[in-house]
Amino acid sequence: MTDITHHDTHDSHGAGHGHGEGAPQTVWHHAWTRPGWWRVLWTTPLFFGIGCGLVTLIRWAAHWDPIWKGQPITTVALVTVPVGFLVGLGGFDFWTHYAGGLPTQAEDHDSHGAKTWKDYFRINTDHKVIGVQYVVTTIIFFLIGGFFAMLFRAELAKPGDQYFNPQTFNVLVTNHAALMIFLFIIPAFAGLGNFVIPLMIGAADMAFPKLNALSYWLLPIAGVMLIVGMCTPGGGPSAGWTCYAPLCSHQPMGQIFFNMAVQWAGASSIMTALNFLVTIITMRAPGMTFWRMPLLVWANFTTSMLVVLATPFIAGSQFFVLFDRVMHTNYFESSGGGYVIGYQHIFWFYSHPAVYIMLLPGFGIISEVVSVMSRKPIFGYRLMALSLLAILVLGFSVWAHHMFVAGMAGWLRVPIMVTTLLIAVPTGIKIFSWLATLWDGKIHMNTPMLWALGFIAMFVIGGLSGIYLGSVPIDIQANQTYYIVAHIHYVLFGGSVFTIFCGIYYWFPKMTGRMYNERLGQLHFWLTFIGFNLTFFPMHYLGLRGMPRRVADYVPQFAGMNEFISIASFGLGASTLVFLYNMIWSWARGPAAGDNPWRSMTLEWQVSSPPPIFNFDEVPQVVGGPYEYGVPGARHAIFGTETPAPVLAE
């Protein structure tokens, strides 16, 4: 298994193991031709020109009028410009040289690891650098998405039009959700997983480091595309993040940016998931059987299968609405024989599993933190892993519960309701197993643990409101209202975002080698916890009483409660500043954390903080389960020349 690691990271087609100085002589002399930001400056416009030229040429050859047309050019340019950017940055250099028979750049590991801050701004093949790139980038998009929420909450504080017209309001709502889902929650887990998974399973890196670098760089492309799309002539994407046909095919041009941004984010997601799967299957350290893997690895293994199987469906749905618009096809245009509800079936066939893509990695993080911070083994380890797989399977059979009032085939309602309600069973198993793990433990109430306990409490509320929605009759009343807004935020904020914060605080010492400020961490938790509940709990009420979601204006009856929610949401937004200050200050000035501040058993804590460039100086030999706290003499792994301990419980 380690053989593969060795082969890939020490990859050397061409010139062999040259080291650093006297860099390869051929074409790499000038800043303009070396992979990097200078080259980006000319490859990006070049590929824009290629895109425009291609469309114009075809239109000219086919005698289509006008030859120069905005929509097809925009569509094609949104493919070619990012490719140009990646070419400039060097994302394809190795493969194009290799495929073209040219000498490939010597693999001298200079694309591995980070010595200065500049190394975070280039193609880097080190999973630890990529993990940090992911987490920092996604937090930036989290801040932007959160800022949008502050803006439209200001608008919603009073009925009537205050600051934004309906178009701008819809754009803010659409991009708030799109940024939070596609550019924050999903990739933030990919980032944490990227950093932690190879370390946890005892591998030197991911299975495909160059693919890993590429999948990161697709992410800023998708994010910038969404944000630039807001400023296009005619207005940004304003059909909501669900982008339902046929409305979205008749939106201003910004909608094309949305459709294409989802493709880039989706491609990034699929590539990372494939990488995780191959890494977890083939690169586990000797002795790391599946039943000895930490639950975070189990969680990402399951999530990656969901991503690989489901993400092509949202790609399809976005392509089809785009084709309806640009190429005048009729996938979802009823006037041309299209099937309008078909869009929703395809969209939710991804987007419901996506809810689990946004939750399962968080479940993994909570399992790590709850076990370590209560100094006890995970209660029912195998059932915990199996319940992840049960969620994976059931997760594919519940998509249509988003469509109980959509007008789909009537008979489908009851079977989908049954599978939806059944998901409560494996989810319940996880909740109760965490509670049993906590029971009789030695609870350390530090910041990661606070987030974990907060998550359990909030996710139970989100899960229960989900059972209300699973019941078709209640869903008929609650669907498309603020009840949905409340539910989705209890699940994706009280659920996913709490676990992301939990993971960031938990692994911060490992990633940076420094300790965050505990007091500020706890302050951040309490401000967020209180602000979150004050903001979102009243929304259940608003929805059931008659306030639809996605409205810029509402009846005066709801004015008081909306004003309250807006004020609470500003408090919630402000709590993020505490987090930012803590992270930035602690990264620069925090005290040294030590290798294993939590006294955890899993492998990532057995190496230095931050870990050495290839993770392990000696290959670990895994000899037991990952959570054997309290078992006398138990070890998860031994290193090098140590003699294995006697027989160990698993």
Binding site: Y244, R413, G428, P473, Y629
Partner: protein, 332 residues
Amino acid sequence: MRRGAILQLVLLALIAAAITTAVAVVIPWMPEQASKEAQRINFTFWFMTIIAIFVFSIVAAVLVYVVLHFRVKPGDLSDGPPIHGHTGLEIAWTIVPFVLVTAVAVVSAVVLSKNSNAGPNPVKITVIGQQFAWTFKYPNGQTYPILRMPEGEKVQLKIESLDVLHSFWVPQMMQKQDAVPGLPTELTITPTKLGTFPVICVELCGLGHSTMRSEAVVMSATDYNSWLQAKPAAAAGGGSGLAVFKANGCAACHTLTAAKATGTVGPDLDKLSADAAKAGQPLNDFIKTSIIDPEAYIAPGYQGGIMPATFKSSITGPALDQLVQYLASSTK
């Protein structure tokens, strides 16, 4: 587990249950129920709420107990007991939730089947959604911008859309159904209370979405029947220009002082004369063209492609002439 621990846990769970029950009962979560369907949905809601209180109280009690009793003092580096699991407990918390959700599923399925049953002879009304207005077509063939239903009778709504997705909802009736272009859908409502209730579009349908509202008026069966026979002349197609203006949702996007309309999505209709002058067309021609072919002239400062192109087929004949006359006479 010590007996004291169980006692404390039960006590904590009871406190949590008392608090959540108070929250559930004191706050009026559901609107008044103005239909038989709403009464059944309300029952399902409370059935589910009892289960939710039960589950939440257990989790809350354990969390609070754990934090109160098992917190370590700073510097305590000991480990907890190495308990790896308990088969009996694991089976219990697989089966109990299974039974609970099965109960929810059975109750929901029964309620759903009752609520979707329109019976042998329902009152049939067609609901037509378009950007950004509802119109209602009655058995006598007339259309009208307000939904009127007889109390105590089953009403079967056939829901259609002329452009994009909309969703028909009356919160007090607790029934909701999307309007899908090209695919008529159905919804059953049995009103039980006289009065006026809001009809709301709950599917984002474009810029005027939040203004796409109408009213559902529940009348006694006799009033309804006499209204149905007496009212044919007042339907949207044959009414005044103002009625056509209102029935087609123009007010959602346009300002027109005469109609008390204050929409700001599209051009201000009080300034129609000025716009017609800019476009270089006679006023009446300009208004007519702008209704049936909105892309023909785009007023400065506005975007094309936003006003629905469906009015060409939905406002025709005398109704169109009346609307044009009305607008021409109302503009300043």
